[in-house]
Symmetry: C2
Subunit: 571 residues, 2 copies
């Protein structure tokens, strides 16, 4: 299953869609020159193509397994992890003081996109570490930072996130894991956590768990939650892994996909942990790590979509079938209009989603580099849109890739089905896409829609100007933008949250559709008469109109939904 990192696409998007130069003008990221950028993309692309892509099938065929309480990873994964670690890719955005590269999240996102496309189940491991690194950088004491960060960044140790409990699910506030002060500055952590990605493995010498737990007497709900770091092996005085902590892997899940990634049920039985951040400050620290992970998960979807597109393209351009009356026919199934429609859709969707994802990453970087509240609000707004659209794109494009293969797509050896199976979880983990949508129309609209309107203003201004050179495309994007604005006005006027929530997912998807139109329009403006203008025309003419139906759905309100009683709906 060959994979070729789409380095040129990233270079184009950085230059023409997200205006990466803005970042280079800041003091913080002045070192991210064009040369550095190009070198980073090229080298990460090489590792993805040569080292990681060959691990994609073995991870599926030989899942991680639990043997005598220890997790054995898939063949080759230890080498893959080392290549990621040795290249410095885990700490790409981390503080250089601890061994990080100190590069923008935007570049890290491009790298994560390529590595996800090459081998999703392995790439999930560094993504977890990255979330932990960021949480520690922001919230840990200096002693913890000094001890853990160099190890995590070097990939000697790895990180996990422990949020979910069996009885709590998405309702994090219902968690019951306890942490009792031991009197020596440490805590005894006890409880069970589920869905712990890379909860244990044999690719690094220690596994550091960030665990949400409740201190004695803590209030109920999310405000009573604190965060702890609980390593598999307790560091000795020299900072090396010492005695085993009181924690264990109860079992690994048997999953639809992502077989190379060990998903553990973890049990903590008075395990020693250290508080990260303030007492009862767990949610704030968790959100640091979650927001990072949400961006990363959206990007996982896009990476898989890219790989599934390449895979289907390779099949289609090799598969001779039927006859075409057209000039320049290749004799392969790409001559068929419907196959071509599918392949064009796949390519156009990946491009749109990637543009949105890198815009989100840019907003994060600019917020950090400039301290500007508007960039911060932009990042907050785009995070759920990117997470959901990136993952939906991963699922839809992989599914279309399977369909392009016809009967072969249903046969596992072909490899098309693995993309579908692997990527499916991205719409669920780090907050389901439904939860992202509630975040978008709830918390992210607590500003009365200000951040949303500001972004739509930007889209409308570009579309309006574009009318002069690309009248049909400019007009279509402008219209779509205004329809989205009206829906947003309707939304923020609703006082009952359920009226917002009832259409939140369609609203979120429509927003992504409109932003995808903006991404493609900017690409068309930068490549007049070229392939990108043609692809933009395809997207704007054929895919963008979906937003209308979605926005009708988005504004339907909650009444009809709840007028259907449980008895009405019951099977």
């Amino acid at each position: 299953m060959p994979y070729h990192a789409p380095v040129e696409d990233f270079a184009f998007i950085l230059k023409h869609i997200v205006d990466f130069d803005q970042l280079r003008e800041t003091e913080l990221f002045a070192d991210s020159t064009e040369d550095v950028t190009q070198a980073i993309l090229t080298e990460a692309g090489r590792v993805s193509d040569e080292v990681l892509a060959p691990l994609q099938r073995p991870g599926d065929l030989h899942p991680a397994r639990l043997e005598n309480g220890v997790v054995r990873t898939s063949p080759g994964y230890a080498g893959g992890w080392s290549a990621i670690a040795d290249g410095g890719w885990i700490g790409i955005t981390a503080d250089p003081e601890n061994g990080g590269m100190g590069l923008p999240v935007t570049l890290a996102s491009a790298v994560n996109d390529m590595m996800s496309g090459a081998c999703l189940s392995l790439q999930l491991a560094p993504l977890m570490s990255q979330g932990q690194i960021e949480a520690l950088e922001h919230h840990a004491s200096d002693a913890i930072k000094d001890l853990y960060l160099p190890k995590l960044i070097a990939g000697e140790w790895s990180g996990t996130m422990n949020l979910t409990e069996p009885q709590a699910g998405s309702d994090v506030g219902a968690l019951s894991t306890k942490a009792e002060p031991k009197g020596d500055g440490t805590y005894a952590v006890s409880g069970q956590k589920i869905y712990i990605s890379w909860g244990d493995h044999d690719v690094a010498e220690n596994v550091c768990h960030l665990v949400l737990a409740r201190l004695p007497g803590a209030p109920a709900g999310t405000k009573g939650i604190s965060l702890f770091i609980v390593p598999k092996y307790l560091p000795d005085n020299a900072g090396n892994p010492g005695v085993a902590n009181s924690l264990r892997v109860v079992s690994l899940e048997h999953k639809l996909g992502l077989h190379g990634s060990p998903t553990a049920v973890m049990e903590y039985d008075g395990a020693t942990g250290w508080l990260i951040g303030a007492e009862q400050g767990g949610m704030a620290a968790m959100f640091t790590m979650m927001n990072n992970a949400r961006l990363g998960v959206g990007i996982q979807g896009i990476g898989v979509a890219e790989a599934a597109f390449q895979h289907a393209w390779a099949y289609a351009t090799d598969r001779k079938q039927g006859r075409s009356r057209r000039e320049n026919a290749s004799g392969t199934i790409t001559d068929h209009a419907d196959v071509r429609r599918m392949l064009s859709t796949m390519k156009a969707e990946v491009f749109a989603a990637r543009g949105i994802a890198l815009s989100c990453a840019m907003a994060i970087d600019l917020a950090r580099a400039t301290g500007d509240a508007e960039w911060k609000a932009r990042a907050a707004l785009l995070t759920p849109i990117n997470k959901s659209f990136g993952t939906e794109t991963g699922i839809a494009v992989s599914d279309m890739g399977l369909q392009v293969h016809g009967g072969m797509g249903f046969i596992e050896e072909t490899g098309a089905a693995q993309f579908c199976r692997d990527v499916r979880v991205t719409a669920i983990y780090e907050g389901t896409n439904g939860i992202q949508a509630m975040d978008l129309v709830g918390r992210k609209m607590m500003d009365g829609g200000e951040a949303a309107f500001r972004l739509l203003d930007e889209v409308a201004a570009c579309a309006s100007e574009a009318r002069a050179v690309l009248p049909d495309l400019g007009e279509a994007v402008w219209q779509a933008c205004e329809t989205q604005r009206e829906a947003t006005e309707w939304l923020v006027a609703q006082s009952d949250p359920d009226d917002r929530f009832a259409g939140a997912v369609p609203y979120q998807r429509a927003f992504a559709r409109v932003l995808g139109g903006y991404v493609h329009l900017r690409a068309a403006l930068a490549d007049r008469g070229g392939a990108r203008e043609k692809l933009a025309r395809f997207y704007i003419t054929r895919l963008l109109p979906e937003h209308e139906g979605l926005l009708a759905h988005a504004q339907a309100g909650a009444e009809d939904l709840y007028s259907l009683t449980d008895d009405d709906l019951a099977a």
Copy 2:
């Protein structure tokens, strides 16, 4: 994984949506009284719930396997097959002279829906036999009919369809399997066929293959194809399985899903076969069998969607999480607007798809019972729409069911993922949904759209009348219908087939959306103020508007598609 056959839904649809009484007024189906109908639905429902549903998980966990050239099926499948055979369900529409029940396809469709929902991989076996029975009834000699039909109908023998060859795929005309006359009225069939569902097994004593092959000197392409019946064991003089024929199972496919259904690569090495129908008349005979199977496959999708809905509903109403401010809150995740949106969507989609499928079946029955060409054209028009929308509904609803489960959905033990894996192939086999769409806008519009316009007239008339009592719903369906009419007018005016094909899939889906609106509107009219009116409001307000975006896509033409060259699209 409990399954409860939705017997009431069928009774409602037969009475209020498809007007089953029309059929009872024909001489052919005068015996399908209300009592008979109810008895059939109830008993098939019982077999589905009690006998077949318990086989769903074992089939997935213990796939059919090839042992020393013989296929061993999943645990319990032999008993399941016997229950289907002994109940007479294989020959439900077959001629009573040969042991069939002689009932309408409409009732058979309801039965197949239930059995597909209970256990898709096993239900595929009788579906294959049903296609073969119909092909033999229409095209075989009396001697063949007398020998094979009673055995197939009784389930002592089973039937398969052998169309696809590795190099030919969807391009049936490219097949190269040969049949040479042996001079005694039989033929020696040689070649390799792939994707043969239930190509071998141990649940019946003989396996009868309908094989497409080419006679010596036959013209190239589809017109040179003939059809042969090639049994695994040659019948002896008493009509019992005698010596083994020269054919073998080369291998079984390792598939994404449907593990309980053995999908064989078959090799024929001078195997003895008998001609079915005229020499070079293979395509006509094949289409008899294909049209039957296409209806059946659309219904497979709906059956799985029903089961996935029930499964998700059971989970959601049992899963306590979060708090709701609403009165009558259950404390489960069904209180959440987005979960409720998903469950309502699932239920509404299943109902729409089922109404369309049974309308298609009714048209088939009425065409046969009355000889009326308009019914025949209606059946021809609805066949691809049902096949594609039924299967897309199966895929989309199963996927939503997985999402309702959250993290649990990705864990195989939950069972939600199996629906997704199993149903995925239905959008591919018996002609991919892309091929269905080409059939719809090509062959099925060779009447200048007459059959389509006639159906839209019917929808418009109902919607127009409905305005008096349900103004908003009537108006919305009427508008959607007129938009579909305009798109159809555009479509039939295109002389370049690629202009039709370029938007064929979106056109097909939009047509199904509009027909779904019609189905729900009729349900609302029949259940004023009841659950079905509320569900209709949900569908018409929220899901129907999707047709607009789809129809924009449908009318985009082929130019932009082909202006994107292979170089432009290349990864």
